[in-house]
Symmetry: D3
Subunit: 136 residues, 6 copies
């Protein structure tokens, strides 16, 4: 059974690779390359896999899930400029693709020993675009 919890955070980012020239960055990322950064209301869906407990009827305690998501993702990333304040995005371009890999790395160990395992994460940069990742 899969259980999904959504959570939001607002952050700035620049899609700018310092190893490339400014012209190359412009060609690659267009307006996203603006080094001052621009921002999004990111919507994150975290999906866990597990079985409902025979006594509680719950796969996992949602209060625990929320606490983990806030501690590992929202607290360090919300209201931040990702490139300037949230490693490894000082040296890794914070595309949505690289963001889901980083969020997976932060969340996967938190669920490694509990009643439910991390199954997949989906991150919406805008309503019209999202990335989904299962850890490989």
């Amino acid at each position: 059974m899969l259980l999904t919890r959504k959570i939001e955070f607002s952050a700035s980012h620049s899609c700018f690779n310092p190893e490339l020239s400014e012209a190359e960055n412009q060609a690659l990322y267009g307006a996203e390359a603006n080094p001052q950064g621009h921002g999004h209301n990111y919507l994150l869906e975290v999906t866990l896999r597990g079985e409902p407990d025979a006594v509680t009827g719950m796969v996992v305690d949602l209060k625990d899930v929320k606490a983990i998501l806030e501690r590992e993702v929202v607290d360090p990333m919300d209201h931040r400029h990702l490139n300037r304040e949230v490693p490894p995005f000082d040296r890794v371009v914070p595309t949505t693709e690289n963001l889901v890999v980083e969020i997976w790395k932060r969340l996967e160990p938190q669920f490694a020993s509990g009643p439910a395992r991390l199954h997949s994460i989906r991150l919406y940069e805008t309503d019209d675009m999202f990335v989904e990742y299962e850890g490989r």
Copy 2:
């Protein structure tokens, strides 16, 4: 090919296990344990798997699907207090997890011999939390 139909129902429930003490219920379910019940507008997504018919171009007649969902889920559960009026929730805690198992049991036989099989169901308790089930 997968075809999904959404449907809504409004119901009350208490997350309260009568085999546990009130303190244990409070610790487990928090505000959800209030035995008077509270309510949700549940959103159910029912996904069927099948092939489009060569003549009709349809996997399944959606009028039939809607009739099954109304007869098996909406009529017995809509505007009801699940714990008090909808078995087995007099003895099974109506968490979202247990609800999807029960809805699966009700729907799966209805599609066992038709042109499309039940593939998965997704149930949103709120906009921020949903459970998905494929029958195991």
Copy 3:
């Protein structure tokens, strides 16, 4: 200038007037009359009117608004059966119309002396139906 903050709460209610017969209640409210109650995820939009402060650029501090909404509406109503646990709904039928009047009575004094006055409230019972009230 108008500033609106949304907030949600989940509650049960029965649309049942104890002064009327059961047949009259059924005729009036249909499935909503079930005395066990059924539930909704209520979505409340609270609109304040004021001018942005010349120094802060804010009409009102949103942290204060959120604290008021939680203390006056969410804490007493969320995860409650309105008819059984939230006066005056032990004697007033908790239709959406009567709910907005009660929420107005609770919120209006809280904003009577601050930088922004309560302008209107909108309450969604479901996605398809909402009521709007300006205090008269």
Copy 4:
């Protein structure tokens, strides 16, 4: 990793099979059979599978994806009557099921040699019904 881009188009269609009698069409499709056509705001979600590039951090350049979707789907179908103006729907009933097959045929070759392969498409006819297809 999966990356999804949404795009919309507005089109008319009739669910009417010219090989069947009018009574058979009515029985099959109900109001959808009206040969004058009726319309929808179709929402299309196109999902690609690929790996983020080590330098750019992107699975695929979204500007390229958007250009392909506009050239192959939106330009020929938006603001069109599908049965009358968009082959093969002069002879294939434009049900949502047949539409996803046709859209798959148009899109799959466009991504056959690029950094990301077409993984699945989802088409919403209305908010309450959608079809998902993976090419078989």
Copy 5:
């Protein structure tokens, strides 16, 4: 107090004025001028003004409102080609603006003598564009 009920219908239309040349129609309406028509899932919000009844706590019986909206708007317009099947759109261009005027004319008399008067209607042609009308 204002009470709003939403309802949807799917229809085709062409924005094409037969008194103008084809070039003028193209210049005015662009792709909307295609005479074969294209379609939308129209979302209609109907707002009534009234006072909650002291006994029932309701401004109006929502079952009655729904029946009126279905009889006056959905039944004649849903799954129709507006220009070809729904007068006066054989001679009046069915822009969203002209549609709200026609819907107002159909609905206003239905609420002229009941407990609640028609206050305004809002019609979404797409998620991104809507028109609102108060009868003048």
Copy 6:
């Protein structure tokens, strides 16, 4: 009659008043004060008032409206850090309240002589908070 067009832009901002101390900024704006900035997907609704033209059936040509919104709002603000790149937000705190005043100033003259006047603008900073402004 009122006609509304929605449009989105993504931007970064800091709610930080350089005339105040850092402690005062923290107390006022909390996490919003981070001078590196954070971002939002802003949703702007622009409402015009006018009468439908007798020949065209349109209040205004939506292609013109879109061109004005893109030239005056989206092009200068999208993918920008408002405080650093969009005057007057180098000296005016870019709260949502101050943003709507600035957007009004930019848009109102554009519609001063056309067939439809600017009636109101609504700006969503997140799904849960929006500000509405009518020019005074």
